[in-house]
Assembly symmetry: C2
Homo-oligomer: 381 residues x 2
């Protein structure tokens, strides 16, 4: 069990005027430079993007969803394939969530007991049971490099009493997940387990949750229960408060954020990892990112605009295609539009984190953030 004690995370450089930092995650399938944005491949594919393109952009880790993979293709197929990486032909790292978030957001009738969660498939209504032990087992079959504990994610507006109960279950599930994960490691599984901070928007519950995670000593800690319907101020307040409590030596992950302003805010608070479906979802919806803010391809002002999405972008989409052509592809509902817009948006967010890392190394993250956001937020259309 010597690997258990090997360092997963090496902090490299701390920015002098903010909590931002660079680092390296040492994972079974290669190093990952942090801060890192992880594209989401819900069903074992980052939508409309090939793994060749993911490598070309430079991604070292992607996220996939246990809930979706458990329903389709299912653990038998994933097991026979030798894990998700081999199944989808991705040779770098994979992080999987535990399925908890989807059980709460996607599925029909569900019932939480301390044992686990009963839920109905959003596809065919079939009933399934997920426990912290089972979530670890599934993620071990997936062969995730980083797996997440099963947690109870409560929405904005949850009453304190309920939030307390949800947190208590989350903490119990974390301990049970750790135990099962330790068994899997003893059997040769090489992936890591992260715990998740919950506690809704109650500072003392968040603090209690962080302390439990620290006590459980998982390889990394994630902030869950954000982007659950709250106003931007509540998001920011809880992020700042919670991030400050988290131990320095472990990687910190905020689940489900993907807009440049939220990403930069998280990096400023010392967050190392984040993921979101937004860049690919917005790409499919014809919304693309530029240094001067995002814009909608369909707008008539693009009809005769033969310049690229972003004149300063060096991605292959911006080097090859015009706004006018992309608008045409969007209007004719061509698949190529989803392919090109998703690629560009992912390239854009990856480049944002690469530039953020450079700014941190140069102790000028605050200026970088200010400069980037002043152009980006003013240019939004």
């Amino acid at each position: 069990m010597s690997e258990l004690s090997s360092p997963l995370f090496t902090p490299l450089h701390a920015d002098q005027s903010t909590s931002a930092r660079t680092g390296i995650l040492h994972l079974p399938h290669g190093k990952v430079s942090t801060p890192v944005f992880m594209p989401v491949g819900t069903c074992g594919t980052v939508k409309a993007i090939t793994v060749d393109d993911l490598r070309e952009i430079g991604f070292e880790i992607i996220l996939s969803n246990t809930y979706h993979l458990y329903l389709r293709p299912g653990t038998e197929v994933l097991g026979e394939a030798g894990g998700l990486r081999r199944f989808m032909n991705w040779d770098r790292n994979i992080l999987t969530d535990s399925g908890g978030f989807q059980v709460f957001s996607l599925s029909g009738l569900r019932k939480i007991t301390s044992e686990g969660a009963w839920f109905q498939s959003h596809i065919d209504g079939s009933r399934h049971f997920l426990s912290p032990e089972k979530a670890v087992e599934i993620q071990t079959i997936i062969d995730s490099d980083i797996q997440m504990q099963l947690d109870v994610c409560s929405p904005w507006g949850t009453a304190r009493r309920q939030a307390e109960k949800d947190l208590a279950v989350t903490i119990e599930w974390m301990r049970r997940a750790k135990k099962t994960w330790e068994e899997k490691r003893a059997q040769g599984y090489e992936g890591n387990l992260f715990s998740i901070v919950q506690g809704n928007f109650f500072p003392d519950l968040r603090k209690q949750s962080v302390e439990a995670c620290v006590d459980c000593d998982t390889a990394g800690i994630a902030i869950g229960g954000l982007s659950v319907g709250e106003p931007a101020e509540a998001f920011a307040e809880t992020l700042v408060f919670t991030a400050a409590l988290m131990p320095r030596e472990k990687p910190r992950y905020v689940m489900g954020i993907g807009t440049p302003d939220y990403i930069l805010m998280a990096i400023e608070q010392g967050i190392d990892m984040f993921d979101c479906v937004l860049p690919t979802r917005e790409g499919r919806n014809g919304r693309v990112y530029t240094r001067d803010g995002p814009f909608a391809l369909k707008k008539s002002e693009n009809r005769l605009d033969f310049s690229p999405i972003d004149k300063e972008c060096t991605c292959k989409v911006c080097r090859q295609y015009s706004r006018a052509y992309l608008r045409h592809l969007f209007k004719t509902q061509e698949i190529l539009c989803s392919m090109l817009a998703s690629y560009h948006n992912l390239f854009f967010l990856n480049e944002l984190t690469v530039n953020a890392r450079r700014a941190i190394e140069q102790n000028r993250f605050a200026e970088f953030k200010k400069e980037f956001l002043s152009r980006y937020m003013e240019g939004r259309k």
Copy 2:
């Protein structure tokens, strides 16, 4: 006007036991080896395929549709872009049909006069007028390397009297197209004009039509009016009969065929060019080609099949992905399925023509066809 007399087509080798032949088309944007399968990019994109991938597969010419491009993005955008090639970032050749087939198959209310065709857009019901002159003008704005005359395409079952009328209009339109095309050439346009043989399924009308095309002396001649609802025997009979009448020195093109059996039948009759939406449409529908016949990805027998689509195929899809993974992508309706299946099917058809060319050069086309089809047709599922 010296270019008018430059040879568009060089026949290279005639197979000794069939009418199959190899050749080279000399087009404004590079040479094209024949027999050639042209993938179809209806709206200025081969669906779910990038131009990088088209080049990688080895395509030297693609087809696009005047009807669709005229409606969207329209001639103003295409003109401002400097033609379709620059608009879509394709640096090789483009052939465009005239719009005639779509006016007859897609549009609502339509009215044919000797002047031209009134039709309704299938998108918004708006009324438009297409004449042989206008079809040449649009295709000149598109900057097609090969443009097709406007023709009247009559369906299987058309009465002789109507077929005669349709042919008379087609011949008149051919002459008017030629006149307008000559004016465009005098103004610097470099593309070629092909005429189209019609005459429905009446041999004497087909003969009359070929003679008119020869008389009009366009750079190439196409066989139209096939795949319009007729049984396979009528298709084959008319193809064989018509192809035999066509002049040896000009490229011969059969419009709208794309299954391996039809392609090989056409090559055997001395046809040099063909196009079809099938490989990409079937790809999007999860049907993929193999040397042992096509099959449906969704079938349960693929669930745990970790072999490639076709074990003998060297395309990047077969080198990287399994049937099990592709089935999963199809079942989850992932865009990547359309991308990968379309790529493989196009690669497969391109390789079929490459192998056919080699067989012709070795005077063994008949054996090649027999060997290929015996495996392909028997393996169909």
